[in-house]
């Protein structure tokens, strides 16, 4: 054999060895370990023992059989059988053709969860959707706390919500308006974890039948709940106790949100400074159609501009029941009942300065103490239907203070005691009907209400003996005032819509009938009242009738809407003053046109403008002729003539919002100019203020700017809000005997930041600056501006899943304050611990035990300074738990 041949054979041999190694076929059956049945559809893969790449793979067939054909140089291979819910099995097998069976066991498989994070804010047509989970911090329990972090949405200290600086017109839960404006009940009680999405419905028209017919630029809010929070009864409770003095703070909450039924019932009670009544405030406006024109009052401290929790000395109990159910296809019945009982104590020292002509200043110093106790009941029953075709609503409302007592003392040169009782009630019914007939819309509205206020103020000792002619030495004065008011407001309107143009004609007929009886009498030594005198009494019937016609023309297009209103009204006022037995009748015709326009440049920018002219003639508060002691140092009496005011006002603004970039900005500027036929002024006789009226026409004007900017972020800082404002107003007032033209200037600016330090902490910081200044024009008297600034910062730490540590610091500065009160510091700390279903909360508030809050500002032609007594340091332990 030649060398070549040997080489050739050798080569062939090598090749065949390679070949033998090359094509390997492994097959087998995969069965279930339990019952020996074949397992189809499993993956069988093979790779070289030391390799990373799969050589080949196969799937088991219906008989559980598999077959793998591959090539590798490795000595042995690894065969792996895997499948969903199957325990993965890997075997080493020599690199040669053969058979290998597998028996497999079941095993639940858990994959690494990979969360898809939806964008924080999403826009769908006119709806902005805020993903609640992405805004919720670990310390946030209620949805109200989370709302504060959402860019574009603002929650004021009192709980009212604005979207792009306009109050929301509806607050829905699952598209139902259960709370009728008292949405604090929802924001302060519904847990953030139960809410999936907060929706802002922009330009929301709550009446479906008016959709695309009547434009609104207000937004509404809707809470979309998570599935787990729907159709279940939930009951939660909180118990709390603390020192000092003995403190208590308890809550009970029951909710149900189902398809045709919603219910929230709450009880809150505490003496720890949490205003339980805050939940019950109606932010839609409530029953403002029945205003009593005159009210008495005890001189009591003006509440400081500080979080109420710092100064409210309360003992309150608040209960509410809110129920909504659907009746048939279209109708809904809503019942809201609330009851509030409170006892509030206030203590302060105040100094009021009135700048008098000729460089002199009148100073009134008062040390005030007051206690207010009341029982307030509110109830309403509403039936409504809201469909595309028609709208029906009838609501019956009751509200009143079943009892109200205010006691107080004033120490100036002497000790004066004041006592006021003022129970009142109001009952009203409101009916609205609206119906569409093709291009026409008819609307009928009728409101009828009756209310009665029994006001009484007793002041001791006798301060103004010259007013009374009773024999002996009277020990005090007693002012009684009863007002009975009936109001009926009726309107009929129809709207014709033709494409983009619509015309609306509204006819109104209103009546307001008031009976006012008052008497100021001395309190005699034996406790009985002295005789009534005509100059100190009023017996007045004040009836006003309004008839009006208000055409409105509007143009509504996708980008533009313009609306022109031309209301014309005839007013007849009958005043029957029974004491001087004088009847007067007055007639007026008012024309109050207004023009408003909105223009949407694109999805991001929106512009608005408004111009209007209004006229009014004022009511009985400026029309009674006998003296009324409104407070111990304010006596009011009017001349026969009524003030009449006309005003022109203008407003322009723009809004910008970019939900994806989370930028929300708005700017507004306003100007007004008003004219009045009468001039008012105060005349000071020692500490007594007498109101004077002069027959001098005068004007007032003012302008203001407001800028707001909100930006959301995804990093360390989550939300940044900036605002700046300027306000300028010029007025004329009678100051003692001279006419004074004065200018008030206000500047304000604010900054607010919410942020998050990874998973273990979040923080917030706020800075607010304000400056006020008064200028008396004719005296050329220029007062130093009063500047104030407050800063607050808080940090929440999350050392573990169960624990939250809260720290908070506030600092206030006021340039008008001299001495130690110029800068004030507050600090609070708290810890929350979660143990299974229990949540423990330990609070330590006002750690520095800051005792007084000092405020100062300009006020008309004067300034005031007050020092208000605050809540002392307190320690409170609360336990929250789920009942159901």
């Amino acid at each position: 054999m030649s060398w070549y041949a040997r080489l050739g054979i050798g080569f062939c041999l090598t090749c065949s060895v390679f070949l033998a190694r090359g094509q390997v076929k492994i097959s087998g059956i995969v069965t279930n370990k339990e019952d020996g049945k074949p397992m189809p559809g499993l993956s069988v893969t093979v790779k070289a023992k030391a390799g990373t790449t799969m050589l080949t793979y196969g799937l088991t067939d219906n008989k559980g059989a598999y077959q793998l054909t591959f090539k590798t140089t490795s000595d042995s291979v690894l065969i792996t059988v895997s499948g969903m819910s199957i325990q993965k099995k890997t075997l080493s097998y020599p690199n040669k053709t053969g058979q290998q069976n597998f028996d497999m066991a079941y095993e639940g498989i858990v994959l690494k969860e990979l969360k898809v994070t939806p964008p924080k804010i999403r826009r769908l047509n006119d709806t902005l959707n805020y993903a609640v989970d992405q805004f919720t911090g670990k310390n946030d329990r209620t949805i109200g706390e989370v709302l504060k972090k959402m860019p574009g949405i603002k929650v004021a200290e009192n709980g009212s919500i604005t979207y792009q600086d306009k109050p929301i017109n509806k607050f829905y839960i699952e598209n139902q308006d259960l709370l009728e404006g008292r949405y604090g009940i929802a924001t302060n009680n519904i847990a953030a974890k139960d809410v999936e999405t907060v929706q802002v419905l922009e330009n929301h028209q709550p009446i479906k039948a008016l959709k695309n017919k009547e434009f609104t630029d207000e937004g509404a809010l809707n809470l979309k709940l998570k599935d787990g929070a729907k159709n279940v009864w939930v009951a939660n409770a909180q118990l709390g106790a603390g020192l000092s003095p003995l403190l208590w703070n308890n809550e009970l909450l029951g909710t149900y949100f189902g398809k045709g039924k919603q219910l929230i019932t709450t009880y809150k009670g505490n003496n720890t400074g949490d205003d339980s009544g805050a939940d019950l405030r109606n932010f839609y406006g409530g029953d403002r159609n029945l205003p009593f024109p005159v009210s008495l009052g005890i001189q009591s401290p003006i509440e400081p501009g500080l979080s109420r929790k710092r100064y409210l000395l309360n003992q309150d109990h608040a209960f509410s029941l809110n129920h909504l159910r659907t009746l048939g296809k279209d109708y809904k019945l809503t019942t809201n009942i609330s009851y509030l009982n409170d006892r509030q104590e206030k203590n302060s020292y105040s100094r009021t300065e009135n700048f008098l002509p000729g460089d002199s200043t009148l100073v009134i110093e008062e040390r005030l103490k007051s206690i207010t106790r009341y029982h307030h009941l509110d109830g309403s029953l509403k039936l409504n239907a809201n469909t595309e075709r028609f709208y029906f609503e009838n609501s019956l409302n009751f509200s009143g203070d079943l009892q109200r007592r205010e006691n107080g003392t004033v120490e100036n040169q002497q000790l004066i005691s004041q006592e006021r009782t003022a129970p009142y009630f109001k009952i009203s019914n409101n009916l609205s009907l609206l119906r569409n007939y093709k291009k026409l819309t008819f609307r009928i509205n009728s409101y009828n209400g009756y209310g009665k206020l029994n006001d009484g103020l007793a002041v001791q000792p006798m301060l103004y003996p010259l007013l009374f002619s009773d024999p002996g030495f009277p020990i005090g004065m007693d002012q009684s005032l009863t007002q009975r008011l009936f109001i009926s407001q009726n309107s009929f309107s129809f709207r014709i819509k033709d494409g983009k143009f619509s015309q609306n004609y509204l006819a109104t007929a209103n009546a307001s009938l008031l009976k006012l009886n008052s008497s100021l009498q001395s309190i005699l030594e034996n406790g009985s009242l002295g005789k009534q005198t005509d100059s100190l009494s009023n017996h007045l019937n004040w009836n006003r009738y309004d008839f009006g016609l208000a055409p409105e023309y509007s143009y509504l297009e996708k980008k533009t809407n313009i609306s022109l209103k031309l209301p014309l009204s005839y007013i007849r006022l009958d005043r029957n003053d029974l004491i001087p037995n004088r009847r007067t009748g007055q007639e007026r015709v008012f024309f109050m046109p207004s023009l408003s326009a909105n223009y949407q440049l694109n999805l991001l920018w929106q512009f608005s403008a408004y111009a209007g002219y209004s006229q009014n003639i004022e009511g009985a508060e400026n029309g009674y002729t006998g003296y009324v002691m409104q407070s111990y140092r304010y006596l009011v009496q009017n001349e026969g003539k009524l003030p009449e005011r006309s005003m022109q006002s203008y407003r322009i603004g723009f809004r910008y919002n970019h939900p994806i970039k989370m930028v929300f900005a708005s700017f507004y500027s306003t100007y007004y100019r008003s004219k009045m036929n009468l001039l008012y002024g105060n005349e000071f006789q020692d500490f007594l203020t007498l109101r004077k009226t002069l027959d001098i026409p005068n004007t007032a004007n003012g302008h203001s700017f407001m800028l707001n900017l909100d930006k959301g972020f995804n990093g360390l800082i989550q939300k940044l809000s900036l605002d700046a404002g300027y306000d300028n107003s010029e007025n004329t007032q009678l100051n003692q005997t001279s006419l004074t033209r004065f200018l008030n200037l206000k500047y304000s600016a604010g900054l607010r930041v919410n942020g998050k330090l990874g998973e273990w902490a979040d923080f917030n910081y706020g800075l607010r600056y304000g400056s006020t200044k008064s200028i008396l024009k004719n005296d050329d008297r220029d007062f130093a501006p009063i500047q104030s600034a407050t800063q607050s910062g808080g940090i929440n730490l999350f050392p573990s899943k169960e624990i939250v540590i809260r720290l908070r610091y506030e600092n206030g500065y006021n340039s008008a304050v001299t001495g130690s009160g110029r800068a004030m510091n507050f600090a609070d700390a708290g810890i929350r611990y979660r143990l299974k279903k229990l949540e423990f909360n330990l609070e330590y508030n006002n750690i520095f035990n800051t005792k007084r809050y000092i405020a100062a500002a300009y006020n008309g032609i004067g300034s005031y300074y007050s020092s208000y007594e605050l809540r002392p340091s307190q320690v409170l332990m609360k336990v929250r738990f789920k009942i159901k």
Binding site: N125, D227, R389
Partner: protein, 283 residues
């Protein structure tokens, strides 16, 4: 006459939509839900012009691949049509071959053929059958379905590994209907499935793109639902056809519709332009 025709087809659509709402056939329940980002480019060097989040619901036997946002938008159009009582219609405006856009008018719903994906792909593991459900983007709302029997996908395993969404992945190549694809699958997720029509690898496909980089599917989310989520398909009759027949119909379809109903007036805009998508399947 034209108005009448449209009104007629309207009623048909609303009936169809109604039927769709009431009856759904539950085929399986979701064990794993995967979210894929579908990005599309006009050519390799140009930027991505469209991104959609697609969902792959995997059950024990059936899996369903679809675009929830597109289906949501389109069903909003049909729900709006369904809600209109024909007696309330006082007038109807149809805008065709005009550049009119009513998308800013409150209440407008729109279905745009270029936005999102209208197909739903059902894979049956047991029978190996792949069925595609689709409809045309016009107000007539014709619905189609076809079975797509193709031989087992001939994936080539190649060297290469990567980590996608925290899973170690292996590379595989495939030629399918005129395009070449590169896929990344994870043997750690022993699910023989993937986005679109892709499956047949020993592990879930987490990413797949064509070599020209026009289409790319990437896993962006994965959950194992704790509540029962059905894999359901409406019982509505889908017209049976072949893949070629549907492709023919789709070529003819318009860009979509915008519809608005308020105050008795129906405004219907047939979106202008020609529907010329870049197709994944070239043959």
């Amino acid at each position: 006459m034209k108005t009448l025709l449209i009104a007629l087809s309207f009623c048909c659509f609303s009936n169809l939509a109604f039927a769709q709402k009431t009856d759904k056939k539950i085929q399986d329940t979701v064990t794993v839900r995967c979210y894929y980002l579908l990005s599309k480019k006009k050519d390799a060097s140009s930027p991505v012009y469209r991104r959609d989040t697609m969902v792959l619901d995997i059950g024990k036997r059936i899996s369903r691949f679809y675009d929830p946002a597109r289906l949501g938008r389109d069903s909003a159009v049909s729900n709006l049509l369904e809600g209109i009582n024909s007696s309330e219609i006082t007038s109807m405006n149809v805008y065709k071959n005009e550049t009119k856009d009513i998308s800013n008018v409150p209440g407008t719903k729109q279905s745009n053929a270029m936005e999102g994906e209208s197909y739903q792909i059902l894979k049956d593991k047991q029978t190996g059958l792949l069925t595609v459900f689709d409809y045309l983007s016009n107000y007539k709302g014709s619905k189609f379905q076809y079975e797509d029997p193709f031989p087992k996908l001939d994936w080539k395993l190649v060297e290469g590994s990567d980590t996608i969404a925290n899973y170690a992945c292996q590379k595989a190549l495939l030629n399918f209907r005129g395009r070449s694809y590169t896929a990344w699958f994870s043997p750690d997720i022993p699910i023989n499935d993937g986005p679109w029509k892709f499956s047949g690898l020993p592990g879930l496909i987490l990413k797949v793109e064509d070599t020209a980089q026009l289409f790319s599917f990437t896993l962006i989310g994965m959950t194992q639902p704790k509540t029962v989520l059905p894999i359901a398909l409406s019982k509505t009759d889908f017209l049976k056809c072949t893949r070629a027949e549907l492709a023919q119909q789709q070529k003819k379809q318009g860009m979509g519709t915008q519809i608005n109903f308020s105050d008795g007036v129906v405004n219907l805009v047939v979106l202008p332009g020609k529907y010329e998508p870049i197709l994944m399947e070239l043959e």
